[in-house]
Symmetry: C2
Amino acid sequence: MSKIRNSEETKERILCAAQSLFAQRGFEAVSLREITAEAEANVAAVNYHFGGKDALIDAVIVRHMMPVMTERMKLLAVAQQRADESDGVIPVVETLDAFMRPFLMVMNESGENKALFAKFCGRIMSDVGSNLPAEAVEQFSIMVQKFTQALSQALPHVGQQELMWRLHFSFGVMAHTLMHGERLVEVTKGACGEPDFETTLKRMIDYCIGGLEA
Amino acid sequence: MSKIRNSEETKERILCAAQSLFAQRGFEAVSLREITAEAEANVAAVNYHFGGKDALIDAVIVRHMMPVMTERMKLLAVAQQRADESDGVIPVVETLDAFMRPFLMVMNESGENKALFAKFCGRIMSDVGSNLPAEAVEQFSIMVQKFTQALSQALPHVGQQELMWRLHFSFGVMAHTLMHGERLVEVTKGACGEPDFETTLKRMIDYCIGGLEA
DNA sequence: AAGAGAATGAAACAGATGTTTCACTAAATC
DNA sequence: GATTTAGTGAAACATCTGTTTCATTCTCTT
């Protein structure tokens, strides 16, 4: 227990390989043998450590979405604290930042392949139906509620229903950009400028502010 | 040649069944046997008429995306004609309408299962990587160029690069809404209002106008 | 150092997948 | 009406899928 057991390493290697491949080609399209080949592990290891492919998918999702969720809540709490010193209302720009920035942060932490992580996050939001692990669904539901409430206070002239739709649209902006950001570069042959993450974040926030306040 | 041959019927039946199933579960997850079962055709028929599964996917995409593309171009041309009678600049709202409405139109024409068609369109935009049939890619590229140009004239204060990104974001709004519109209803337990297509279109357009003009 | 338990590796499993084959039927052409 | 072609149906094909088995190796505890 005191030392890192070897098994934990291979578990980690499988998770990394799986995430990388899932990001590139989707959950269904990647086989266990491809994953274990890249992870330099045996096919049986997946079933031994996780219980099966579906369980591996859930593990990968939970493993890499949870930090984003908690980071979001943390940033929103900080913004709330800051707002409480004035009128108690969080500016839209800060709410959106709390919502979108965590991807950047976790990405930067995960080093190496940032674009791949972004793609993976976007894929989770688009690819998975209602098959998300229960653990993630609950956390997600709570988060949506918190952020809707914050936006509602900052945008009192926007009706509740309208706001829900606009938040949904903002989700779409983020998901699509994460997954297909590089495609824009391809299509425009680089005329859209270099896809710097911080700049892209600012662009997304500005756009969504415009949409939310419309 | 004068009469509709029987083979064309089964070809059509396969296309319909494939579209329906692809929309619900994605391209990779649906097997040929499921498709031919629903189409009441033989497994060999797919390879005989299309040449294989990949070719079938391409056929389904081309078959149902082309009307949308051409309809978009038509609506934009009409708006251009209308604009030429005044200052020659197409209002943003009309450009966005020309961009998004065709989905509604083709959906309404295709009768029966509108939500399924919407989901399929959204899936094409999200699911497929750069594996789109060449025919569609070219048409798509031309369309993007035309619409960027139209928006550029209406929004001279927005730089070219910025505009490309914002158009990309608008794409995301549409794709995400088409694919996951019903999920919003689930998550909010119906509190977001009933998902009427015309209303949703207006909501999307309003949101995107706000974002584009930000 | 020895033994118990965890982790691995290679092979085999049953099932599903896309594709092909070939005998057969329907339709079009002469 | 006979002949050639287009289209269909059922079965077999090889391959790949996720999963399981079991003997072996490694790691930790005593």
